[in-house]
Symmetry: C2
Subunit: 327 residues, 2 copies
């Protein structure tokens, strides 16, 4: 007997753009989340909006050159805070000239299909929700840990946006009174303790007073990567630093469990490449200090790696198209 209903294969595709402080990346993504084509350039971060928009156009033209399918839209992920309701970049610290800039309207002039604008943490959360580690779940907290800490939240099966679409700046919850200065101007932020930048700074301080470590020996620079590398080689100080990092992340994530009650926490960003080393300490913190009803929530590594935001911004364009069809 034949199946009663046959859904036709979804042949829609969308463009995802990940506009970052160092790279602009564009991809053609299909309805299964597969990247069909991609292109990237170093961001002309100091050149001003016109040049950056021209970069985006150049990259998307390249990937659209031989796109046979119906392109339903383009999603652009941008560093925040950006008012994605009004479509205006308020003041992007990593990109010169994006101050009160009507980013969505200017992008829209370039394309015949709808433009979606999204804060980068939220776009990455959407990527993991639709096609990554949070697939099929309704409540997801995505945490990205790299030079800073950002995030995005899916709650009750919907993207959490908040006023001006600026929800999810979880790197700027205060975790220490009168604490370390944060790039945001605040003190004691999660980002100021848990980011890769903060880990490297702690490592440089600690290495100065420690004779018994390979960190910084031979005048080599110390960054997050070198701390993990030294830890793998058995360096005691490096392992202490990594254990401390896991504890800081565990403490921040435990707070997020209580605040959002997610089904899962997905960890992305550069530091997530070292997730296997961080996970035991992180899990131990959650198991000890989360309230009992929250202890069994899984904390996992992002499945899409560095593509969460790229795929997520395309997914937002596909979702918007599906919503238009429903109306």
């Amino acid at each position: 007997m034949a199946a009663r209903t046959l859904t036709p294969p979804d042949t829609r595709v969308a463009v995802g753009v990940d506009l970052g402080g160092t790279h602009v990346r564009a991809a053609l993504v299909d309805a299964r989340g597969t990247i069909r084509a991609r292109a990237e350039e170093r961001t002309e971060a100091t050149a001003g909006p016109d040049r950056v928009l021209a970069q985006i156009k150049r990259l998307t033209d390249a990937i659209l050159a031989d796109a046979p399918e119906e392109v339903v839209g383009i999603g652009v992920s941008t560093p925040g805070p950006v008012d994605t309701i009004a479509g205006v970049a308020k003041n992007i610290p990593t990109l010169a000239g994006f101050v009160g800039y009507p980013l969505r309207a200017e992008l829209q002039k370039q394309y015949p299909f709808p433009v979606i604008l999204e804060n980068d943490g939220i776009a990455a959360a959407v990527g993991e929700w639709r096609f990554g580690a949070g697939r099929g779940l309704d409540n997801i907290v995505y945490v990205t840990i790299s030079t800073g800490i950002g995030g995005g939240v899916i709650a009750d099966g919907r993207v959490l946006r908040g006023r001006m679409g600026m929800a999810g700046h979880i790197g700027h919850m205060s975790i220490a009174p009168d604490g370390a200065l944060c790039p945001c101007g605040g003190r004691g932020c999660f980002e100021a303790y848990g980011s890769g930048t903060a880990l490297a700074a702690r490592a440089r301080m600690a290495a100065v007073g420690c004779g018994d470590t390979v960190l910084g020996r031979d005048g080599g620079g110390i960054d997050g990567r070198s701390v993990f590398a030294a830890a793998r080689d058995g360096d005691r100080l490096a392992n202490q630093l990594v254990d401390e990092e896991a504890e800081i992340l565990g403490r921040g994530i435990t707070s997020l469990l209580h605040i959002f009650s997610p089904d899962i926490v997905v960890v992305g960003g550069g530091l997530s490449e070292e997730f296997d080393r961080l996970q035991p300490g992180l899990r131990s913190y959650v198991a000890t200090f989360a309230m009992p009803a929250f202890r069994d929530v899984n904390v996992v590594k992002a499945a899409l790696g560095q593509n969460s935001g790229l795929v997520g911004s395309a997914a937002l364009a596909l979702l918007a198209d599906a919503a238009r069809e429903e109306r």
Copy 2:
């Protein structure tokens, strides 16, 4: 010319129940949020679920005795964490015997109309959203400060529930490393520093070493209320303690601004009676340490006072009824 459409006056009413650790309160609430009748008793907190459910029935019978209108449902606000999706109380610390207890099903047996169950912080947030200080806004963070700290969130025009409906336990975000023990078992929680209980404990400690204060003089006990009273009388130590309290609350609320991007923060609970004294310090913290895009968000006192949860739980029953009608 007559108006084209005349909406009939909404004559629906619902019952709200606020089940707390010290009092059970019930009210008949109309579609404008007005309390038409109310009743309360001290909670038989150690007597077990049967007795507490009998209390609720007795109170609701009393207020329904002469309710002429159509009662569309009952909303029950309960201390958390309660799995409001499954309707099961996991383990309510303040009420004996509510462990794995099918609270919604047992309540439903008592009533001919639908029962809605909600965590107390969320119910109070809904009260302020529909009928209080957050009326007409889509993004609200409600913070209740009394013996503990709780909360509830409205985001993008919807109630934020999360896994098992347990979102909004904002009192248990960690604000200090290796910090003060919290009743939840954690360390350094917002509740362990910012609650009325924590303020009183700090005051007792400080008064011991201070000759120049009225706090605790004549062997009198020190609680939150007496600290504010002494501050009003010009007591230096009391004013320092209150300023510190405002700073702690400001720090927690600044984190919540970044995390949720609300249109407004509404402060309820016992300590909100002293909101006017706390507001300048609180506002100053936000204005200094929130990221610029978040600084203009208002922090206000709950408009419904101690009735936020009572009215909010009835509002949830009214909303559920409206949703049923739409289907």
